[in-house]
């Protein structure tokens, strides 16, 4: 057994044989939650091994082409969908996890979200005020700040103008970014190195503090001794091909699973259905289904410039949705345009005059499950059902987006919903979005916000972990990703996950 070299990262080319190492804590997953835990524990003097299945990406390896980028940075090439109601959902496979390819949005959920958590899942000590010190710590570390106007670009500022004209509260989105240049390339990797994704922020800091970071390693099993988690084992995997080779084992006093709300329950299920006395592992899957509307303005918007997501409105959170601006690689975004042939090309000609705004919905009634596939893969079988009442919320959200577009001066909107006109030229025409009874299948939604598959609950019979992420049924096992949310956050979840992970790290450090 080797103690490994403290303060070092290891990459695929460097694995030459099977190996075993030991540490105080092994953290599985280098996304936002795992990276925070690895850093905080290392900074407190604990010996930490951080494991990541994906490779580290350098700017030279970022693909500008959205689809080809996804095929390299996402599990299942970014084409994962649920059964039941089909909803595309992505999970990154890279050092830094989703933070490498998300738009860096950091929003603290309002009080009522946490009050709902307490009420729904009988937990205590998880109000917004309890978490604010942890939000503050992460915010200070990452330099989270509102997006400045000079990199907003017109397509974001028009959202602000439309909201102002209607008296709807809006705000520049706070992001983990330092030195944004407005390239709008958050989803394919920030070539400006401005986004403080985990691979360039928390992970290097953890390495500097002494963490061992092993990339291109797939954890396949959590090891136990009676009621105690004692480590993990798995195999080295080649980047992109996923070909498995050398075996490894990490022995540790504590195991922290931060593999994401889809892979963490699968790891537990594949490890002999661990920590599942409640029967809740892999259940309660929730999403924030999202829908975008494209608006066309009379003057050029130059949508290629500006922060990927620069403005938002939290004014409708209690009604069940959040509004925000959104840009994406052109080829991905253009998928939203209706039709084909010369008509479609005419619409494409409007792209320089267009902005794209979206809504994400709180959908407590729409639930699903995560189940493992055969073999060693951590790719899940997902099932999810979009509740008709939840779907109705999206119609109202689209109507609000339409209002904001027309108030900002748009001449046309493309709602992208089945059963209504492909384009609408006035708010009167858009009224159907508010009044129509939509079926879930009328919407082609997507969501990369996923939660609740290993939910926290005050009652061990009803949940997998306590509010600190400690497994009810296992000693030395912590879960720290969005799977532990008792319900969705109604806002982008990364920041909440990191704050909870920060708190869990403190608890774990005290325990060791």
């Amino acid at each position: 057994m080797s103690r490994g070299v403290e303060g070092e990262v290891r990459v695929f080319a460097e694995y030459e044989r099977d190996f075993t190492e030991e540490a105080d804590v092994v953290v599985v997953g280098s996304g936002p939650c795992g990276a925070v835990v690895a850093h905080e524990l290392t900074a407190k003097g604990k010996r930490v091994v951080l494991l990541e299945e994906g490779p580290p990406f350098t700017p030279q390896e970022f693909e500008l082409d959205g689809a080809l980028s996804m095929s390299r940075t996402m599990r299942e090439a970014g084409l994962r969908t649920t059964r039941g109601t089909i909803i595309p959902t992505m999970q990154a496979i890279a050092l830094g996890g989703g933070s490498l390819v998300n738009s860096a949005i950091c929003v603290r959920p309002p009080d009522f979200v946490f009050e709902g958590w307490e009420e729904h899942c009988e937990i205590e000590g998880t109000r917004r005020s309890d978490l604010d010190p942890h939000f503050d710590a992460v915010e200070a570390f990452l330099g989270i700040a509102p997006t400045p106007d000079d990199v907003q670009g017109q397509r974001n500022l028009l959202f602000r103008d439309g909201c102002n004209a209607l008296g709807i509260e809006s705000e520049p989105i706070a992001r983990n970014v330092r030195g944004c240049r407005g390239s709008g390339e958050c989803f394919t990797g920030c070539r400006a190195r401005a986004k403080q994704s985990m691979d360039i922020s928390y992970v290097p800091a953890a390495i500097k503090a002494g963490a061992r970071v092993l990339t291109s390693v797939q954890v396949q099993e959590v090891l136990t001794d009676g009621r105690r988690a004692t480590g993990v084992r798995g195999q080295v995997v080649e980047p992109f091909s996923g070909r498995r080779s050398h075996r490894f084992r990490i022995d540790a006093k504590a195991v922290v699973l931060a593999a994401g709300c889809m892979a963490t329950p699968i790891l537990l299920q594949k490890s002999g259905n661990l920590a599942n006395g409640s029967g809740q592992v892999g259940r309660n899957l929730q999403f924030h289904p999202g829908l975008a509307v494209l608006g066309v303005f009379p003057d050029e918007v130059d949508p290629g410039f500006g922060a990927t997501q620069g403005y938002q409105s939290l004014a409708f959170l209690r009604e069940g949705y959040k509004l925000e601006t959104l840009w994406a690689p052109a080829g991905i975004l253009a998928v939203r345009f209706p039709g084909f042939g010369h008509d479609l090309k005419k619409r494409f000609a409007e792209v320089p005059y267009a902005a794209n705004w979206d809504a994400i919905a709180t959908c407590h009634r729409s639930l699903g499950t995560v189940r493992p596939r055969r073999g060693a893969s951590l790719d899940p079988i997902l099932t999810w059902h979009f509740d008709a009442e939840d779907a109705q919320v999206l119609g109202g959200a689209l109507y609000q987006i339409a209002r904001i577009f027309f108030a900002a001066g748009a001449t046309t909107i493309l709602p992208g919903v089945h059963g209504v006109a492909d384009e609408m030229r006035s708010l009167e025409e858009a009224d159907v979005l508010r009044t129509r009874r939509f079926a879930p299948s009328d919407f082609v939604t997507a969501s990369n916000h996923a939660f609740c598959t290993t939910r926290m609950h005050g009652d061990p019979a009803k949940g997998v972990v306590d509010p600190l992420g400690r497994a009810h049924d296992m000693d030395g096992l912590f879960l720290v990703d969005t799977g532990i949310f008792p319900r969705c956050t109604s806002v982008n979840p990364m920041f909440t996950g990191m704050a909870l992970a920060h708190r869990s790290a403190e608890a774990l450090a005290d325990q060791l």
């Binding site: 580290p56 350098t58 390239s183 401005a194 992970v203 080829g331 042939g341 005419k346």
Partner: protein, 219 residues
């Protein structure tokens, strides 16, 4: 000795089988260049459907094939996991042959998609797009998504829509001293602490030079 009916039935079965084999495999042009993942038949379908979806001319002039959609799709299918690639190829197969069940209007409407006239191809696509049956709309959306992503991979298209990426010199940050290129050893890392540069934070100018992959080729 087989009975006369048996002989007729055998001949009919053999004819049907022969026709099915021809429909699926026969009469396709040879591929001009070696492909990464797709067969000549699949590429022929992609040529047809790419040009039906993106005909030449209009405000964004390149046609689907001029924009390189078939070659892009070949590269894309080669880059995704095998099972996903199989699903994509099944999608191409389904659309090529679904005219058996959802025929195009006019004479010969049940021929495979790539053999239909351009008007018939347009009618088939419209039928799938506006179908009241969600799975058909989903199939159309999935196919069109692949074609659209391919269309937007063309620098000519991106430049026409002012969406070509700007040139950005990536500053060297601390992480660049830690990670090598994917597949390489850390000993290949070329940077040292003296190379570190803070991200500039200077907004990209509208007239900034384009990324070499998106810029107009120079003579």
């Amino acid at each position: 000795m087989p009975s006369a009916w048996g002989l007729v039935a055998g001949l009919l079965t053999a004819s049907l089988l022969g026709w099915a084999v021809w429909r699926v495999f026969g009469g396709y042009p040879q591929a001009k260049e070696p492909s990464l993942a797709l067969t000549a038949r699949e590429l022929a379908f992609l040529v047809a459907v790419a040009d039906a979806t993106y005909p030449e001319g209009g405000p964004v002039p390149p046609s689907g094939t001029q924009a390189g959609i078939p070659a892009w799709a070949d590269r894309y299918v080669a880059s995704v996991p095998r099972t996903v690639g199989i699903l994509m190829r099944l999608l191409f197969f389904l659309m090529e042959h679904a005219t058996l069940f959802f025929a195009a209007p006019g004479r010969g409407g049940r021929r495979r998609f790539s053999s239909l006239s351009s008007e018939q191809q347009g009618a088939v696509l419209e039928d799938w797009r506006t179908s009241s049956w969600f799975p058909r709309r989903l199939v159309f959306s999935s196919l069109r998504a692949i074609l659209t992503m391919g269309f937007f991979s063309d620098p000519v298209v991106l430049r026409a829509l002012h969406l070509a990426a700007k040139q950005i010199e990536s500053p060297v940050v601390e992480a660049d001293l830690l990670y090598p290129a994917i597949g390489a050893h850390r000993s290949t890392i070329a940077y040292g602490p003296e190379d570190l540069v803070a991200p500039s934070g200077i907004p990209l100018a509208a007239d900034a030079p384009l990324h070499p992959d998106h810029a107009e080729p120079t003579q």
